[in-house]
């Protein structure tokens, strides 16, 4: 009786696992195939503009275009041979509408150097 019960439970477990794995693989195929009902959130970083005060980088303007409205975090890290600086912004972006974000770089400011500014911009949905 006990073995029978264990056998039934094992079959139920295997069946459930197989059903779930089929469901997961179907989801993956649906996304990979670019199915129309899957909302791809396409993010475009259209512009990065530096503002300096003398030789100090004080502000960065980033223009972003997203497909899906919602809360986002925009983070920028700037580096050159003098070091690196970073800043971020959190707020709401509207889908299909370009938004220019102002990110203030906190002191100590990054100074201009022998190499130019390299900007790494990351936009993350919250």
């Amino acid at each position: 009786m006990r073995r029978l019960l264990l056998g039934i439970l094992f079959i139920v477990l295997v069946f459930s696992a197989s059903v779930i794995s089929v469901s997961i693989s179907a989801s993956i195929r649906r996304v990979a195939g670019g199915s129309a009902d899957v909302a791809h959130n396409k993010i475009k970083i259209l512009e990065v503009r530096d503002e300096l005060s003398g030789i100090n980088l004080v502000r960065i303007y980033v223009t972003v275009l997203v497909d899906v409205s919602g809360s986002y975090r925009v983070a920028v890290t700037v580096s050159n041979d003098q070091g690196s600086a970073s800043g971020s912004w959190t707020g709401t972006l509207t889908g299909g509408q370009e938004t220019t974000i102002t990110i203030n770089i906190p002191p100590p400011y990054l100074k201009e150097g022998a190499t130019g500014f390299n900007h790494k911009v990351e936009v993350t949905p919250l």
Partner: protein, 144 residues
């Protein structure tokens, strides 16, 4: 024949209950994993990061704005900073890469004295897809 003590029955029942609880935990974990993967699939994100690299020197790029048409990049507008008291011909070059292929464009313009910032439009030979790994590099310099 003496009957078994009642605690053995309790232990057997307890083992069955523990087994059921374990089974429920395993199944619910798999179900939550499935739901989580489904939710991730529904909000598939493209292009969450990009790099923009500008040059240094006497003349330097201060901004680049990409011209896009749908998911394609057709060109860019680069803003260059020069010495205000200088004049001459200035070249601006922009390269866009999506991590798979790249496009470059260059333009030369004349700028007189009194101008510190100027913007140059650049059109690529053919459009290039923005995704999957966009990066931009730009430079400007005085030609003569």
């Amino acid at each position: 024949m003496p009957s078994k003590p009642p605690q053995f029955f309790c232990i057997r029942k307890l083992r069955v209950i523990v087994f059921f609880i374990t089974l429920i935990i395993v199944l619910s974990s798999l179900a939550s994993l499935s739901v989580n993967l489904n939710l991730q699939a529904e909000s598939f994100i493209l292009g969450g990061s990009a790099t923009y690299t500008y040059d240094a020197g006497v003349e330097k790029v201060r901004s680049v704005r990409l011209n896009v048409s749908g998911d394609d990049v057709t060109g860019a507008q680069a803003t260059c900073q020069k010495v205000k008291t200088d004049s001459g011909y200035y070249a601006v070059s922009v390269t866009f890469s999506n991590g798979v292929e790249s496009r470059s464009g260059q333009a030369t313009v004349y700028q007189g004295k009194g101008v510190e910032y100027f913007t140059v439009p650049i059109t690529f030979d053919s459009p290039i897809g923005y995704y999957p790994n966009p990066s931009v590099s730009a430079e400007c310099w005085k030609v003569s």
